[in-house]
Subunit: 428 residues, 2 copies
């Protein structure tokens, strides 16, 4: 155990530079904690000449990450390039096929190819570790797969895209609309090159699919996530929700139902005074519920050089200490198929609509809800200007199917001025 | 790796029964996750005939926990008896001297004898794991020692005694005083046999000393914790603090200072809108700050059968999977002495006092603070009845020494009606 752990690092963007910086600055501390020197042997990135603010001269430079992954003088391939296909995938496969463990921050790669990669790794007795892929600096993979290994997990949920949470909390704080805050986030550099990864909920859904696999012992199934982004969240709904004691969050929820696995990523209402409701700005939060532990809440920075590098280092230290785990918490070949539940679990809903100023309009809506089996918990009609009246309804627990049925019936009445907004209220 | 992991469990109180229950109920899940069967070989408790609501007939019964620990047919000794001396200590030592790993929930044992036990274990190549000893179901030991191993930890703090937090939050909610809520907690069975362990801050300080050792690479030093319990917290201060935007919590803080290690357990003010400020009832919270990760907040149940058993099971699963760690995150023989800082780090303070109704009384207090170098951030004098006037002061950051100096000077004036209350405001 006194031989060094030798790393090859592919990708020297923000996270890669952060990892190199910690390995240089904390070399003694890391050796004290793991009992081994941790050495960078070689690195790889697109531009060898760029000044990254950190000394790289002691390391071999590889232009091709696949060549880096294949080197026989490294023990661990650290993949920090990103992207689910191309170089990241090829290099990860090359590392596994030549006997290296892999540490990665790549959520897209794992969400789309996690099962195949895990099978390849485990067949060769190798580890893939990816703490940095989910919720930045929060040790959520470790907590779920190791700390809570004695639990049958009942629900995992979280706010796992800082940019979306930034936009939503700034909408409430500033009174500006979605488009203005999207532009602000863009100017601040908070958005991915393809912003739909953020605001469309894709990035957060990659993370949710990974957590669901560990939590429920199922093959990671990104295609099974029902995804809705934040693009249609309006200032009006944020304000009305606040008025009723809720906040709107882009919330990912994974849960087993009698009919299969539920994986949803969508704007939801959560109680304003709950930990999720109180989450501001770019911070992430994951809530894990298990039959023994009840509920654990983990909160921390979801991105950034230091926090993400911290997560990568945690994985590297585990490998240096000799801890080996199945990639998704149990051997990949034993994971079950994640059959998506065709219908979601019941929940209360928030409904907002504009009714035309006609006699009996509200009665008609109430009747439609009643016929669909949707019962009303609270209702508010606001004083109306001109020809339409805004109405807010919070329902009791209802099935998504019953709600859908009611919304369809409303659409063909002559009293609704525009398509009603319906948002799930997640009970915490 | 296909041989079973064989357990001997000493102590069948709430936690012990919870552990047995999970091992029986989740046997298949645990085997899938760890790759090994986990078997209870023998148990030990005071009363063999008591009905504990769980079947024990398949296990050998030992009346003496030391004899259980010495059995050569177990791999792991699970110590759930509690108490820093006597049987728990003797049995733990016996387990280590006969080649067994130890899993324990015993914070007192580790806080007082952790260094010697860790040295004994590590010399024999054995592990001692104790996730359940700190903050119940929250995987805080794992997060700190493994997940955040790449960080230089800068501060660890937390609310780690649910009973104290219950009493303090109930005082605010009900308007009842400390004594009434102490009695309520007693009736609900929330108090240890020696209630001073809870309300005197001892139990929480055991936990803080353990966290500080891992965080700062120092020998666990319970004697070095400055401890003040919640017995002197008044309803008046809870209300005034709330009025200024704060809540009073029994907060443990460990931090390195230029003069040594600071370990404090004392009632502190924290911002009411911070995660710590919002923590209600028996829930625990630990905040970990590191140079890379910035700040992680972990929240969950601090006690109870399920949550504590969940933590014990996490440790057992790690041992089953073959993960081995130094007890306090780095080899015990390399841990530094935890020299207590003789003086605390600067902080703002909350001061409440009653001034006698004399001309110039407030001016005298302001002058004393100024002379001691303590500057005032906010001050309120309330309209006074009869002969005394209540005064509240929030200071700017000041050293505990300067504040002490000012308080001593106030005591010898003729304007202060009773000893001023001074509470630290912890900045988060």
């Amino acid at each position: 155990m006194t031989n060094a752990l030798r790393l090859g690092i592919a990708g020297l963007g923000t996270v890669g530079v952060g990892v190199v910086r910690i390995l240089r600055k904390q070399a003694k501390l890391l050796e004290a904690r793991t009992g081994r020197r941790i050495e960078i042997i070689a690195v790889s990135a697109r531009d060898a000449d760029k000044d990254r603010g950190v000394t790289l001269s002691g390391y071999d430079w590889e232009t091709d990450p696949v060549a880096l992954a294949r080197r026989d003088d490294i023990d661990v391939f650290v993949e920090l390039m990103g992207g689910s296909e191309g170089a990241a995938k090829a290099a990860t496969e090359a590392a596994l096929s030549t006997g290296k463990h892999v540490v990665t921050a790549n959520k897209a790669l794992l969400a789309l190819h996690g099962q195949a990669l895990a099978e390849q790794a485990e067949a060769a007795g190798l580890s893939i570790r990816y703490e940095a892929a989910v919720a930045g600096g929060i040790p959520v993979i470790k907590s779920l797969a190791e700390g809570l290994a004695g639990n049958e997990i009942t629900r995992v949920m979280g706010v796992m895209n800082g940019t979306c949470n930034y936009i939503l909390t700034r909408m409430e704080a500033t009174g500006q609309g979605y488009n203005a805050l999207f532009e602000e986030a863009d100017k601040l550099g908070f958005l991915e090159a393809d912003p739909n990864l953020d605001v469309g909920g894709i990035d957060a859904s990659h993370k949710l699919a990974i957590l669901a696999s560990i939590a429920f012992g199922t093959k990671v199934n990104f295609a099974g996530v029902e995804i809705e982004g934040i693009q249609r969240v309006t200032l009006e709904d944020i304000r009305q929700a606040a008025d009723m004691g809720y906040r709107i969050k882009l919330l990912g929820v994974a849960q087993r139902s009698p009919r299969g696995l539920v994986q949803r990523m969508q704007p939801c209402l959560v109680p304003a005074n709950s930990p999720l409701g109180q989450l501001e700005g770019g911070t992430n939060m994951v809530v894990i519920e298990g039959d023994a532990v009840e509920q654990i809440v983990l909160r921390g920075p979801g991105a950034g050089e230091g926090p993400t590098a911290s997560a990568v280092l945690g994985d590297i230290c585990d490998l240096a200490r000799g801890c080996r785990m199945p990639v998704f918490g149990q051997p990949a070949v034993t994971l079950a198929d994640a059959t998506p539940a065709q219908t979601g679990l019941p929940a209360p809903y928030y409904l907002r609509m504009s009714l035309l100023d006609k006699p009996g309009a509200l009665a008609k809506i109430a009747a439609i809800l009643g016929e669909a089996g949707v019962s009303i918990d609270r209702m508010r009609q606001y004083s109306h200007s001109e020809t339409t009246a805004p109405v807010l309804i919070v329902t009791h627990k209802t099935t998504p199917a019953a709600l859908e049925h009611a919304l369809e019936a409303m659409a063909v009445t002559d009293v609704v001025a525009s398509e009603p907004v319906a948002l799930r209220i997640e009970q915490i």
